[in-house]
């Protein structure tokens, strides 16, 4: 007989693991991935692969040679970071920029703080915002979707729907004049528009989100409060002046809102832990998104909004503790 093991209780463990959670997320990302391959063709596939592989490689190198700790690249989180990073860039982005972005995401956003679970900011968003500010030109030339193309260069580019509206309104045009210049809402909904790889198809993202909800990987609080507050906020503005402010539905299905609300804001590492905190977080993200979208210099505010709210998480966690058992005695 072998040696008896001594350990503290409990002696059993639920059939759940980080890896299961992470691969669950990856599975839920598949529909959006397929849509992106369909609309943006081979380019999308290559970018996604590059991002994932370079995230894995950088994580491996840093864990092995800098931190000199255990190598845990297959826990799935680096893969998610890679996929989401790829989802956040245009499909014709030069690959070396994707590699730089992955390096920043993993090296600066995650490993600097010790790896999985310790990073205060969402790594993929750190990478994305870094690229956005460093390479504004490349990061804002959006290829138009051409189903199943294998073309890698010289694709037709054009502004995103949000940028069209924002630019137009900035010049003083009316929303009603601008609307014909953007794709139909149904196209926007299924993802037939220019934009980042993964953000275009609201329907695929919602599908993935439902899957995660069912598997209890995420809870409803953040996506619903995020999307809801964007809807309400833009709705009010639209009601006030529909000629300057476009309708809320447009806001919901364009830009990275769905991607952000379902996948990036819900990253458990960088979001609050209690339901109340999550709601605050979601509403904060929503309001900041709209403020940046409508009043700021950037046409798209989701990444910044989530990153800014990430900074609030420790304070939110401190302020919204769960109501303790036996704290408020209401006996009856």
């Amino acid at each position: 007989m072998s040696l008896l093991t001594v350990s503290g209780s409990p002696h059993v463990h639920a059939d759940d693991s980080v890896r299961k959670i992470m691969y669950g997320v990856i599975i839920s990302l598949v529909p959006a991935m397929l849509v992106s391959f369909y609309f943006f063709g081979l380019g999308a596939l290559i970018i996604t692969l590059t991002a994932v592989v370079s995230c894995l490689v950088f994580e491996f190198l840093i864990q092995k040679y800098l931190i000199k700790g255990p190598v845990t690249i297959w826990d799935g989180s680096a893969i998610i970071t890679g996929v989401l990073l790829a989802f956040n860039v245009p499909s014709n982005l030069p690959l070396w920029i994707v590699v730089v972005g992955s390096f920043v995401a993993i090296g600066m956003g995650k490993m600097t703080f010790g790896g999985l679970g310790k990073n205060p900011f969402n790594p993929a968003l750190v990478g994305r915002v870094f690229m956005m500010i460093s390479f504004p030109v490349q990061m804002t030339t959006w290829p138009k979707p051409i189903p199943l193309s294998t073309q890698l260069t010289d694709v037709v580019t054009g502004p995103t729907a949000l940028a069209v509206i924002k630019d137009g309104v900035g010049r003083g045009e009316k929303v009603s004049q601008l609307l014909p210049k953007v794709p139909e809402y149904t196209d926007l909904f299924i993802g037939n528009m220019g934009g980042s790889l993964g953000e275009v198809s609201a329907i695929a993202l919602i599908l993935g989100g439902l899957y995660m909800l069912l598997r209890k990987i995420i809870t409803w609080h953040i996506p619903v409060s995020f999307i809801g507050s964007v809807f309400i906020f833009t709705g009010i503005m639209w009601l006030v002046n529909p000629e300057i402010y476009i309708d809320p539905v447009f806001h919901l299905i364009t830009g990275g809102l769905m991607l952000g609300a379902i996948y990036m804001a819900t990253d458990m590492v960088t979001s609050p832990m209690t339901p109340a905190g999550m709601l605050i977080f979601g509403v904060g993200c929503g309001i900041l998104t709209v403020v940046i979208r409508v009043f700021g210099a950037y046409p798209e505010g989701v990444s910044f909004a989530i990153l800014i709210m990430n900074a609030f998480v420790p304070i939110i966690d401190r302020s919204f503790k769960p109501k303790r058992f036996g704290e408020e005695v209401k006996n009856g």
Binding site: L4, P10, A14, K118, M268, M273, K321, P322, F325
Partner: protein
């Protein structure tokens, strides 16, 4: 279906031995009866080396209020009173008796007949419980007479009987309810009298439908006793959770159940009280579940206190060859044994034998802040935070985050996908904070 509201888990039940009737375990060759089997001060031996003792004879006296008498569980010669190895490998004082025969003390009524009426006054009942060394058999082994003496200024309203047996694997309470139902009812009546309450609720989890049905039937004949089926959820058997589930009251942080007018007793304790009061029988034996995936014959054994664990496992078919871990108690709260010589004590509810592959913890990663532990904690604490704070020795922050409220149920560790040793950390923190609090006083 009633249950407590926040948190909780539902591990696979694996109650292999639930259909095994209670069997009497043959006497071992020697027993070693620890002098501290209960919460509170150790008992003081009243016999000497070489003395002959009878079954049921008092061998050590609990001298302070929170302490309990200890009786010999066998007949034989005291070979020594010395340190013996206990479950954790540390040495504790114990009385070691070489078993010779099984002659019971004359005062004990060894018959099987049900004795319903009890004409003792409530003080006498409590005294009897004290004399007979009854302690809580639900886990903490808290001296029962203390619980039955309601402090001045407090009033008990409910006597709650804990038949939840929410731990997986364990079935001793279940079998007891099925086989000693009538005695339980009498025991409850006696305790209601001692406490001066007229309401008693037996909480039983729904995965024991036969017990619920049987006790419901019996309860009809006893005034004030009701049976309440509960949803299957761990740690329903935790005192505070049970109170919340049965009467929807929350015991305030740091307070005792009596604060909300409740007293909780385990079914095993209740049976022991019946035997003590009606049959004059001290607490010298208890039902122990022996089970495990590879155990040949999972069973419920009536074992004498002091029987070595090895003897118990032997009775269930022996130790499987690939054993990696042996646990005394349930899989969630039990204690891993470092040897097989440790004796059964008043608080031992089960012996679990895990094969090697099931005895290792899952690989440990960083906390990913998934909040599963927060959502699972029945006391709505933040286990991840407490663990971190304790790890970084921020004990005052631990205290502010109510670490002392943790009931050590282990749900947090159970659900943590990263396999964090949350409860290990929290235990260290609790110990430190407890020390600080005691020094402050």
């Amino acid at each position: 279906m009633k249950t407590f509201k926040t948190g909780g888990v539902h591990p696979p039940e694996k109650k292999f031995s639930e259909n095994q009737p209670i069997e009497v375990l043959p006497l071992p060759e020697t027993v070693s009866i620890p002098l501290s089997q209960h919460l509170g001060a150790p008992a003081v031996p009243v016999i000497n080396k070489g003395d002959k003792v009878k079954t049921g004879q008092l061998i050590a006296k609990g001298e302070s209020f929170i302490s309990a008498n200890i009786h010999s569980s066998v007949t034989g010669t005291v070979t020594k009173i010395d340190d013996v190895i206990d479950a954790s490998g540390y040495r504790k004082k114990a009385v070691i008796i070489k078993v010779e025969e099984d002659q019971w003390d004359e005062s004990i009524d060894t018959s099987d007949t049900l004795k319903k009426d009890c004409d003792l006054t409530s003080e006498d009942i409590v005294k009897k419980v004290n004399q007979m060394g009854i302690v809580g058999m639900g886990g903490a082994a808290f001296p029962s007479h203390v619980k039955l003496s309601v402090p001045k200024g407090k009033k008990a309203e409910y006597l709650l009987i804990n038949g939840a047996e929410c731990e997986p694997y364990l079935t001793s309470d279940h079998r007891l309810m099925l086989e000693k139902g009538e005695e339980l009812m009498v025991g409850i009546t006696i305790k209601m009298k001692a406490l001066g309450v007229n309401k008693s609720v037996i909480g039983i989890e729904k995965n024991k439908p036969d017990a619920i049905e049987y006790l419901c039937e019996l309860a009809k004949e006893y005034e004030g006793i009701t049976v309440e089926p509960l949803k299957v959820k761990y740690p329903q058997g935790g005192e505070k959770q049970l109170i919340k589930a049965l009467v929807n009251r929350e015991v305030p942080s740091g307070k005792l159940p009596i604060e909300v007018g409740c007293i909780v007793h385990n079914v095993g304790t209740t049976f022991a009280v019946y035997e003590a009061v009606q049959k004059n029988k001290p607490l010298i034996e208890r039902v122990v579940t022996v089970t495990g995936i590879n155990i040949e014959k999972p069973s419920n054994l009536l074992a004498r206190i002091g029987t070595p664990v090895s003897a118990i496992i032997e009775a269930a078919g022996g130790i499987p060859s690939n054993t990696g871990k042996v646990v005394s108690g349930g899989p969630m709260m039990g204690k891993a044994l470092s040897n097989f010589e440790a004796p059964v004590t008043k608080g031992t509810s089960g012996i679990l034998v895990f094969p090697k592959e099931a005895s290792q913890r899952v690989t440990q990663l960083n906390c990913i802040r998934c909040a599963k532990c927060v959502n699972t904690c029945p006391m709505t604490l933040e286990p991840y935070l407490l663990a971190l704070l304790s790890d970084k020795k921020r004990y005052e922050m631990c205290e502010n985050n109510m670490i002392m409220d943790c009931i050590e149920c282990g749900s947090c560790h159970y659900v943590c996908p990263s396999g964090r040793p949350l409860l290990d950390n929290i235990r260290v923190g609790k110990a430190k904070v407890g020390q600080v609090i005691r020094e402050r006083k």
